[in-house]
């Protein structure tokens, strides 16, 4: 430190360090400023300008400016979050407000009324709910076994070089737009069903059970269900494979050590271990299948009747909305009834998607690509 020079009482300039050698005094004294009297004090004291100190500037800015700017930044971010909330409120609000005339008029009986007559102003959702669940059920019944078995193949049986490529391919193909699946259905699946599969079904199983008999049209819940099933397979297979990878190696090795064959290990040890993951993936697949619109609209035949056989045509909620909503807008009650159908679909898929996502989150620690419902 630079030796401090000050004016002594006698008016003589004294170097403090000389007058008071550091080594000779106890260290505590060094920190106490020696009492002094300023000769100029006889004049009225004017306030000295505040010393410039970087530290104090910083401290002041911490308490005032930084705090304010941080708070500003925080609230700006909050606005961003509010957008998402507002978006959700818009979705739910629009559906509720626009569906209100129908909810008010029909109450809960809307759910199990199967009449849909715009001229007599009677609307009921039962036909469409049943059709939706038919298509979803056929799709999942077709997709789940295939998806699970093929994910077992990918995780255990396939040669190593195949795994990476095929998994990537499956994930990529899951992104093909649903309208392309629908076009594929019309060009390929419908003629295939009409000319080969449906006559075959009618001639074999149809002779015993009326359920498999029908008109061999190609269009109908079977075609729609199969195509939606094809769309769901990659989703279920990918998620199942991800959970199969996480089966601990010790479990598998223990099964082998106990003398089980490969198939026994895979089917009776690994598969039961991933049941929660499979349930989660099936729930997600259900959520995807139930909201499917354009492919179903093109393939289901769009006839408002409850299917009694697997070859019947039908109608789903989403395809009804996409098909007739632009006519329905003219009549407030008609459009309200359609939107109430949409509200039912919305609630089902919200519950289902949340359930599946939460289940998988718990299992896999949170990493999950979002899948948008339908297209």
């Amino acid at each position: 430190m630079e030796p401090e020079t000050r004016v002594s009482r006698t008016g003589q300039l004294v170097n403090e360090e000389e007058s008071m050698p550091v080594s000779s005094v106890p260290p505590r004294v060094l920190f106490q400023r020696p009492l002094k009297e300023n000769p100029r004090l006889s004049r009225p004291e004017e306030p000295r300008p505040a010393e410039k100190s970087v530290l104090r500037d910083l401290r002041m800015s911490t308490h005032a400016k930084i705090q304010r700017s941080e708070r500003l930044f925080q609230s700006m971010l909050l606005i961003g979050g509010t957008f998402v909330l507002a978006l959700f409120a818009t979705v739910l609000g629009v559906c509720l407000v626009e569906a209100w005339p129908s909810i008010h008029r029909f109450g809960f009986s809307f759910l199990w009324t199967s009449t849909w007559n715009p001229h007599r102003q009677i609307f009921g959702a039962w036909t469409y709910i049943v059709g939706t669940f038919w298509v979803t059920g056929i799709a999942l019944g077709f997709a789940i076994p295939i998806a699970i078995l093929s994910s077992l193949f990918l995780s255990d049986y396939s040669p190593k070089w195949l795994v990476g490529g095929v998994s990537t391919l499956m994930e990529m193909l899951a992104g093909i737009p649903s309208i392309v699946f629908g076009a594929f259905g019309i060009i390929f699946v419908v003629p295939l069903l009409r000319d080969h599969i449906e006559p075959f079904l009618a001639n074999t199983l149809g002779t015993r059970w009326e359920f498999f008999n029908g008109d061999n049209m190609g269009y109908g819940i079977l075609a729609a269900g199969l195509v939606v099933g094809i769309m769901v397979i990659p989703l279920v297979a990918t998620v199942t494979r991800d959970s199969l990878i996480m089966v601990p190696r010790e479990t598998v090795e223990a099964a082998y050590a106990l003398g089980s064959t490969k198939a026994e290990t895979v089917f009776f040890v690994k598969l039961p271990a991933v049941v929660p993951g499979i349930i989660g993936s099936v729930i997600l697949g259900f959520g995807r299948a139930i909201g499917e619109t354009m492919a179903v609209l093109l393939l289901i035949g769009n006839q408002a009747s409850i299917p009694s056989s697997i070859q019947d045509v039908g109608y789903t909620i989403s395809s009804l909305l996409a098909n007739t909503f632009t006519y329905a807008v003219i009549d407030p009650l008609y459009s309200a009834a359609e939107i109430e159908l949409g509200l039912i679909l919305l609630l089902i898929s919200l519950v289902v998607n949340t359930l599946g996502r939460e289940l998988l989150m718990k299992l896999m620690g949170g990493r999950l690509a979002g899948s948008v419902g339908g297209g």
């Binding site: 957008f83 998402v84 992104g175 060009i187 139930i290 996409a322």
Partner: protein
């Protein structure tokens, strides 16, 4: 593989047969799962190849019924317009909301917001169409009264994109090591400086992936367009009002495949092939981006 050499001598015939049977069952299921997906591309190529040429993607549809001659330029341009509008709307909001969810992830408000953002991911596209119709397109009641128009459809698609971008942005920001953030804050950076100078640059590939993922999800959406922007055989001069509809690839496929005309089906399959190729290229872009950033992270420790 070490596990291939296993003594399977003393097995009973039942177990041997079961072993083989279950194994081949998985192989059959695998073939059944992959074949239809590849068949889609093959059928689209096979049925559409007579229409495929360079002029198919550079000319407007012509003839009667419209589309029987000419190409799909209107659809490509329209899809591009819609995707650009959707991205312009959803990318700032999505990143903003993602930043919020990341920065204040401990608060109850943020947890609620995350729940609702996840719920939005599960909304079926028909519902988005209905919402878009009542917010943008309807001519009665509240709303913007834009009619069936490109702007309405683009913003509806933007609605669909918002939760996707939000979610992926948040995830990408969570992947930035906490020590970087703490270091920046300890050096005296304000939160805004930290976000602008450190967090967003570090997460930029993840955010880019999220945007591409959103575009991928939005590109093939047809149902919302039925409600907000039907179709246009030409290229519109404005995006709002009664002449504001844009063409769209997915909508074009839908309309062509809905007609019983053989020629239109050929055009539809060719258009489907073009759409599929675009989507797959985009998907490959996402994967390359993710792969590149992983490599980059490995190289730089």
């Amino acid at each position: 593989m070490a596990e291939t050499v296993r003594p399977e001598k003393g097995l009973s015939p039942f177990r041997k047969v079961r072993n083989l049977l279950l194994g081949s069952l998985t192989a059959i299921a695998f073939v059944l799962a992959v074949t239809p997906l590849l068949a889609i591309i093959y059928v689209a190529y096979d049925r559409g190849k007579s229409a495929l040429s360079l002029s198919f993607i550079t000319s407007l549809p012509a003839g009667f019924p419209v589309g029987i001659e000419g190409g799909i330029l209107n659809g490509i341009v329209g899809s591009l317009i819609l995707v650009v509008i959707a991205s312009l709307f959803s990318v700032p909001i999505g990143i903003w909301a993602g930043l919020y969810l990341w920065d204040q992830s401990h608060t109850r408000m943020a947890k609620t917001t995350r729940l609702f953002s996840d719920l939005l991911l599960g909304v079926p596209s028909v519902i988005w169409g209905v919402v878009g119709f009542y917010v943008f397109s309807t001519n009665t009641g509240y709303g913007f009264h834009w009619g069936f128009s490109g702007l309405a459809a683009g913003l509806t698609l933007g609605f669909i994109m918002v939760p996707i971008v939000t979610r992926v942005t948040e995830q990408a920001l969570h992947d930035v090591p906490m020590s970087y953030i703490e270091g920046a804050l300890a050096l005296g950076a304000s939160r805004f400086q930290m976000v602008r100078g450190l967090a967003i640059p570090a997460a930029i590939t993840g955010i880019g992936t999220g945007i591409l993922l959103g575009v991928l999800n939005v590109l093939g959406q047809t149902a919302p367009l039925v409600f907000t922007n039907y179709y246009n055989t030409g290229i519109p001069h404005s995006l709002v009002g009664s002449n504001g509809s844009v063409g769209d690839l997915a909508m074009q496929i839908f309309i062509y495949i809905h007609e019983p005309s053989k020629e239109l089906h050929v055009k539809a399959m060719a258009a489907a092939l073009v759409l599929t190729v675009i989507v797959l290229l985009l998907d490959m872009g996402i994967r390359l981006l993710a792969w590149g950033s992983r490599k980059y992270a490995q190289k730089n420790g």
